[in-house]
Symmetry: C2
Subunit: 496 residues, 2 copies
């Protein structure tokens, strides 16, 4: 059960005045007032929670975003930014007394710069749209969340999105070079650029993954990569989860960084095989799909090395794709695993946590014990190379108490992740979903320091409040931002 701040009645009372003010900033159909049209924005990918926003505004220019934020700042009105609304942690969940600021009209590709291997786009361009814009040049954008057809690069920046390829090519934060950012008071600043590194504090780094709480991104520069000359996939079955887990750890320890290294447990293998007939070994307790990319000679070398490791850890079957069609077939089962598992149960709840790789066997074992406790089944399909788990908890929302049991189960899994040295999220963000678990991972000193940083960007806590942090308004106590004003004169320093 997730709680959100009580709405500010004084703001609600001024609703029509606020709508009028927004219409002066964004003329035409960019301000959505009617309840029926607002309903399209009432939830994101965390569909169990819904809230009609007070009003929706869809600006088209950075200047409009700046004016909207300046107005909201002056009038203390909360703002929830939104990309495509695919967040699985409720990052774009609206507020009853807040404006929903949609960036859906920021859809232009601004510049393709092949020599510097980067592209400049507006935040509403989809993740896949970036790769499509440069595919003629043999290039692509590496982070590839499962929602890449729909999710936007602005949302990817907010959530530090991942995907299968992030093991080798990094998360969003490793692929973003620069942004244009509108601060809550309307100021427009630029962070990073097309260059390598920068002077001063890494504001760009802190922005990526800040879940819409530090500012609104209105332009993004990302690096683009050449497609590898070739790729082949290995499909390896194991009699035990532990064996598969140890294989993953040893591949990484040996120094091989596959293009992707995914694991599925028995329930997921069964569901995927029934759905797409990829030829998965139905007798295996765990399946690894490991993709190796590069030139042909390098791939051959890596396949031999990975096969030897798998064999040492008790692999019961091992097949290497012999054609591009077969490689895609191996992946088809993995990519369809979520909908395939969805056929087993009326509803499922997709969790997201990360653990040290060598704990994979232990954690999956402990999850099996929890299944008995909560009387719910779990299928596991996840980014094994990153240690990024995605347990799918099967439940039926129509049975009283099952959603609550699924949530409690999910929370127990996340506590376990932290207990073994991991973290609460790998790529879905904290949002509202995991907010109240932040205390299991961070102590008060840690959270206070995070809050101080938040205040340095948005001192009134107007941007996406109620997300990520269980304590909302500690700024007033923490805000010891005062210096003795002397020492401004810079005398000469002796030089030798």
């Amino acid at each position: 059960m997730i709680r959100m701040p009580a709405p500010d009645e004084a703001v609600l009372a001024r609703r029509s005045e606020i709508v009028d003010a927004l219409r002066r900033i964004v003329p035409g159909e960019g301000v959505i007032d009617s309840a029926s049209e607002r309903r399209a924005f009432e939830c994101d990918g965390l569909t169990a929670y819904r809230q009609l926003p007070m009003v929706v505004v869809l600006p088209e220019t950075t200047a409009q975003v700046s004016e909207i934020l300046r107005y909201c700042h002056a009038n203390r009105i909360k703002v929830v930014p939104r990309g495509a609304g695919t967040s699985l942690s409720g990052g774009a969940l609206p507020l009853q007394d807040g404006i929903l600021l949609g960036l859906g009209k920021f859809k232009r590709i601004l510049e393709i710069d092949v020599e510097n291997r980067c592209i400049v786009v507006q935040p509403g361009v989809t993740n896949l749209g970036i790769s499509q814009a440069v595919q003629a040049q043999g290039l692509y954008y590496a982070p590839d969340p499962s929602s890449q057809i729909a999710c936007t690069i602005g949302g990817n920046v907010a959530e530090n999105s991942g995907g299968v390829h992030c093991l080798k090519y990094g998360l969003t934060t490793n692929n973003v070079l620069g942004v244009e950012l509108v601060m809550m008071d309307g100021e427009i600043i630029r962070l990073g650029g097309k260059h390598f590194d920068a002077s001063g504090y890494d504001l760009l780094g802190v922005l990526v993954g800040s879940e819409g709480m530090l500012g609104v991104v209105t332009e993004v520069t990302v690096r683009i990569l050449p497609k590898p000359p070739g790729a082949r996939a290995l499909m390896i079955g194991f009699a035990t989860i532990e064996g598969a887990g140890h294989c993953v750890a040893e591949v990484i320890a040996t120094g091989i960084i596959p293009g992707g290294m995914e694991m599925m447990d028995h329930l997921a293998i069964e569901a995927a095989e029934a759905f797409v007939h990829a030829g998965y070994p139905l007798d295996a307790a765990a399946l690894l799909i490991i993709e190796l990319d590069g030139c042909a000679a390098e791939i051959d070398h890596l396949i031999a090395a990975v096969e030897a490791i798998a064999s040492r850890h008790g692999a019961t079957s091992c097949r290497a794709s012999q054609s591009e069609a077969e490689r895609l077939l191996f992946w088809a089962g993995r990519k369809a695993a979520f909908p395939a598992v969805g056929r087993l149960s009326p509803d499922y709840y997709c969790m997201d946590g990360t653990i040290p790789r060598r704990q994979i066997g232990t954690v999956l074992q402990r999850m099996e014990e929890m299944e008995a406790k909560y009387k719910l089944r779990v299928a596991n399909v996840f980014h094994a190379g990153d240690g990024n788990l995605h347990p799918l908890i099967l439940y039926d929302a129509n049975r009283p108490g099952e959603l609550q049991r699924a949530e409690d189960f999910g929370n127990d899994i996340l506590r376990l992740c932290v207990e073994v040295g991991g973290v609460l999220t790998g790529e879905h963000g904290v949002g509202v979903e995991k907010r109240d678990l932040m205390g299991t991972m961070f102590n008060d000193s840690d959270l206070d320091q995070q809050t101080r940083l938040k205040c340095a960007f948005d001192s009134e806590s107007l941007l996406n409040p109620g997300k990520v942090f269980p304590q909302l308004c500690r700024c007033a106590e923490l805000g010891r931002v005062h210096v003795h004003a002397g020492n401004l004169r810079f005398p000469d320093l002796p030089r030798f």
Copy 2:
């Protein structure tokens, strides 16, 4: 000419009381009071500037660091942290009214974790010491600043240090997984860990490269990599700087990421060849040394590809190393280039700026024009793949006005870097050296936001003040860190 804040006379008057307080925290010989012993700490690698610190303290435990900072915070005493003192930008330059906090006694390797491919060390361990600690397992730590024998990992974290291998393997910020950090008020927090990504804002990312101004690091976890199975170097001569610059841009645009890609201009080639006899082509206007690593088949494939690109851009000579001894010989000239250039002139000033790769030819051309204006010669030896320039300005400090001319020349080069879309630093940091140029790169909004972030960590500006930011004490004006304290109640949100 660099200016520093005027000393606080009230603090200077309390010097002996402060020394006594520090001695109660760090017993024995950990507090250095005498002027002759303090002199060892009066400068770092930016040797043109010196300042005796008020007192030096060398703690041995995190608890002592915490107590020292808590005391300094309560008494408003400034603190300058220091690793090995190899900063080239004056990052560890002491303050007349400040404590120099040396981390030289934090020298222990705490844990080697091969399965998770990381190592936990104290901040006083040298950069090379980390690689040596894991070399028996075939592993190493990738970032490799030229000073790696002496510089410490704590200093690397503060400066986000680079090196030849950073083109392929990333800067310090891409290789640090976690730290233990003591805040200015003595609080101890942990950022990151051994895991991938984290929840909340990326405090670890903002800490790396913060030049000792956000907190004092007392423990560091970094990732370690397996040594590549093989490596060969190409030595390619060009008749023009432009040809070499275009070759660099095309190698990267093609998607090849060499293990290192370094450029030297004619003056540097001459000096290095005279010093180490590496067989460099003395008729070339520019030389590239490009290292390709991986398995043998991959290296052969990459060498052929790079040779073809070089030939298209007018290479006049091209040799691939045929043995490990020859590979090391190719590098010997590059590695000795700084001392080799040092033999041409009584003094040299090593600059550090970064530009988009395709601007290399233009910028080196403009630098030649500046040589005439300033009547000083420049040798160029630099990380071409990163666009990270290191012009060495030759001067004689004993000739009146030459140091000033060299500094002015250096500042003009940095302004040029920014003008073509680059930045003020690649790996040396801003420190005091480039502080007064920050305004050429950032506008007031940008700098204000950086300052707000600083205030969120160190609201009294006690940690390493006078470094990086030209405006020291804007916190008081900027510190709008107040929230309306309501909205703390979290009512249930309707659920569907």
